[in-house]
Amino acid sequence: MTNLQLLWFLLIGVLFSGFFFLEGFDFGIGMAVRFFAKDRDERDVVIQTIGPHWDGNEVWLITAGGAMFASFPMWYASLFSGYYIVLFLILVALIFRGVSFEFRANMRTDAWRNFWEWASTIGSFCAAFLFGMMFTSMIQGVPLDKNGNIYGSFTTYVNWFSIVGGVAVSLLCFIHGLNFLRLKTSGELRERAEKWSKVLYPVLLAGEVVFVILLYLTTDFFSLKAASTWSILVALVIFTLIAWWGAMASHDWVSFLASGLSLVSVVVLIFNGLFPRVMIGVNNVNSILIKNASSSPYTLHLMTILTLSILPIVLIYFIWSYWVFYKRLRSPKQAA
């Protein structure tokens, strides 16, 4: 394995971390549209909080996908073709939630507004759930042939661990969304979000325990790299506890950052467990390794130069756009 290959493996991890940190609260907000907000005014505000941002956040996924294609074509080809139906459902979910905000605002009847609000809620939930399911089923090992093709059965994708993984990721996203609401709204919405997260954190912790047990039973993470796996899991639990404390003590920023970091911990856990592989085969001989899966040194080198020169500029205006909209919102009836 060369340094460039390692760098790109890490960069893909960083891009997915960015995606889950940012789109994580987008998904949470999307779910909150119907699960949390009580009336139309509240839903206006809830959607408004991510209005200028959701599209940019989704670009992290597109960039992660593109970077994976560019730096590890064998990984991209194997994962994306092997998870055909799962990714197809994710795409459908992303389509519905993506257009829902724009379309909802232009509907005339309550029935149609309801329709697009549910499209946002169900779409966001399904996308988060399916991403969780995909990554947790992938780390258990999949039936790879020697060409890197996955010939999976139903239980390859849907099993106890992958369902728990799906639920855990969607719950994490939902709470992360609530924490974002606490940060971006004031008055009743903010208080209710805080109340909800206080209730949800014990549930999440219980879920994390189940997740760890199943991780132990179904993956080789603990047998291959016990120390790092344990440290990341401890970090995950600590971030969850910090976020919980933030909800108790009304520290909105602390909760938001901590819930984002717990999502990042999950990504780190997965990438740490995969290393030095990118796909784990049920038959270990067929596992796809970083050193065999990458593009040529020329392409990796080129990509590195381009990324290092473009990404800093992107980050500057990306963060600036959040700063422009850094203002709390409240629903009009409270303002009146």
Partner: protein, 483 residues
């Protein structure tokens, strides 16, 4: 024509065609409209005429629908290379991945961030800065076209690569060659001019419909003027870039060219150009021809000849058939022939309508309001750019058959071996239903925005109750500040 049996390959091809065609309804429209809105806002900033501000906001609203649908269907585009064409992804990853990743990094972040800023910060920034946001969005979307076409151009005309002896996959040797591919610099201007043309004639056509109802005369006449100027320039640009691109094909992809011109046998020195023709098994059965036009178009001269499909097929067989002597290199002749004619004839129509429209719509003249037939014609032409764009891709992509990467990888070898007919059938049906509904919602919403008229646009953002809020920025609208 499309050969769709219920085979894995056929269904995968159908899926790619469907998702790409649908996505490409919105892409050129969004790119073009971003520029047109940017021009309108610039005129507002320079002339300080409020009509142009309303114009930018009003057409900007339709732009936002198109942008949203373009974004969500674009993710399908990126994912389906891996999902449906995993062998292609393995083969091409070294080349394709780089432009795709740069597209995301350099272009998508730019357009998505600044469109968000543009949408929600009317009156919160200095006029010039706000105008800059839409220019950056337009610039970002153009950049995205450049990078994805860089990848497509490689597939049409591979350059700057070697075949890795061990893996039998392409390895990039020169990024400079990939980016300076002549195919790219023929294709990219044509796509961008096509995008301007699309947006221009949609906006002009929508304006024509409103003028027929005598609605907001000043507003729609000014909109029409701006867009017809853009449309005329774009039309000339399309013809010019179309010409250079087509002539480039003569040597580079001779089969594509022969099929576009419906040449089965080699052409004679008289250069007969077929206006219409019938084909059976790639052989011309009848045709209506005009002498010399083919030579004028292809050689820019009265003399010369072109290879027909039969001759090209023989040459390609000699070049590429090493193991399999039965493989032929004919492309779907009828599709290419007619697609090319639709493009060429439409270009003439667009140019004519733009010139007449600008004349009728000249200042201090009421001609445009009296010539209702002309407004009807323009109104109907709203649909034409979308058909023409699709024809363009039909020529480009069908004309490469049987290759997915010209001369290197066939379509049949590119498909995911793990796909199944059942899953592909399912996803094709679902995609079709989703696209049909999204398309319908788009049309209904755009129509509704048009009917509401320019007075309604003072609202933006995602509020469910636009009618209650007038002329405030979205933060005061959906929610009050909390200071």
């Amino acid at each position: 024509m499309l050969n769709i049996g219920l085979s894995m390959l056929g269904l995968s091809r159908f899926q790619f065609a469907m998702t790409t065609v649908f996505h490409f309804f919105f892409v050129p429209f969004s790119i073009g409209l971003a520029f047109i809105v940017a021009i309108m806002e610039t005129v507002y900033v320079v002339k300080k005429d409020e009509t142009y501000k309303t114009m930018a906001k009003f057409w900007g609203k339709i732009f936002l629908f198109s942008f949203a649908v373009g974004v969500v269907t674009g993710i399908i585009q990126e994912f389906q290379f891996g999902m449906n064409w995993s062998e292609y992804s393995r083969f091409m990853g070294d080349i394709f991945g780089a432009p795709l990743a740069i597209e995301a990094l350099a272009a998508f972040f730019l357009e998505s961030t600044f469109i968000g800023l543009w949408m929600f910060t009317w009156d919160r920034f200095n006029k010039v800065v706000h105008c800059l946001f839409i220019w950056l969005t337009a610039f970002g979307s153009t950049l995205s076209a450049l990078w994805i076409l860089a990848a497509n151009s490689f597939m049409q005309n591979p350059v700057g690569y070697v075949i890795n002896a061990q893996t039998h996959r392409v390895n990039m040797t020169s990024f400079g060659a990939v980016v300076s591919n002549r195919q790219l610099w023929n294709e990219f201007p044509h796509v961008i001019f096509g995008a301007f043309l699309t947006a221009a004639f949609v906006v002009a056509g929508c304006s024509a419909w409103r003028l027929l109802k005598k609605d907001h005369e000043d507003f729609y006449r000014k909109s029409m003027k701006v867009t017809l100027i853009v449309g005329l320039c774009a039309c000339l640009g399309s013809v010019w870039s179309g010409d250079t691109q087509t002539r480039y094909l003569i040597n580079n992809q001779p089969m594509k060219f022969a099929a576009m011109e419906g040449l089965s046998k080699n052409s004679t020195n008289k250069g007969e150009w077929a206006i219409a023709a019938g084909f059976k098994n790639h052989q011309k059965t009848w045709s209506v021809e005009v002498p010399y036009v083919l030579n004028i178009l292809g050689h820019h001269s009265l003399n010369g000849t072109f290879k027909g499909q039969n001759q090209v097929n023989k040459e390609l067989k000699a070049k590429y058939n090493k193991n399999d002597q039965t493989r032929n290199y004919y492309v779907p002749t009828r599709t290419l022939f007619w697609s090319f004619r639709i493009m060429a004839i439409s270009a003439g129509l667009f140019g004519l309508v733009a010139i007449i429209g600008l004349w009728f719509n000249r200042k201090k003249s009421q001609t445009i309001m009296r010539q209702r037939w002309f407004l009807y014609l323009m109104g109907l032409m709203v649909w034409l750019p979308f058909i023409v764009n699709t024809c363009g891709w039909f020529v480009t992509e069908f004309g490469r058959y049987p290759w997915v990467v010209y001369g290197l990888l066939t379509i049949a070898d590119a498909v995911s071996p793990t796909s199944t007919v059942a899953s592909l059938l399912f996803t094709n049906i679902v995609y079709f239903l989703i696209f049909a509904s999204l398309g319908a919602v788009m049309v209904i919403l755009s129509h509704r925005v048009l009917k509401q008229g320019p007075d309604s646009v003072t609202t933006d953002g995602y509020s469910s109750k636009p009618e209650k809020t007038q002329d405030v920025d979205p933060y005061e609208m959906g929610a009050a500040h909390n200071d």
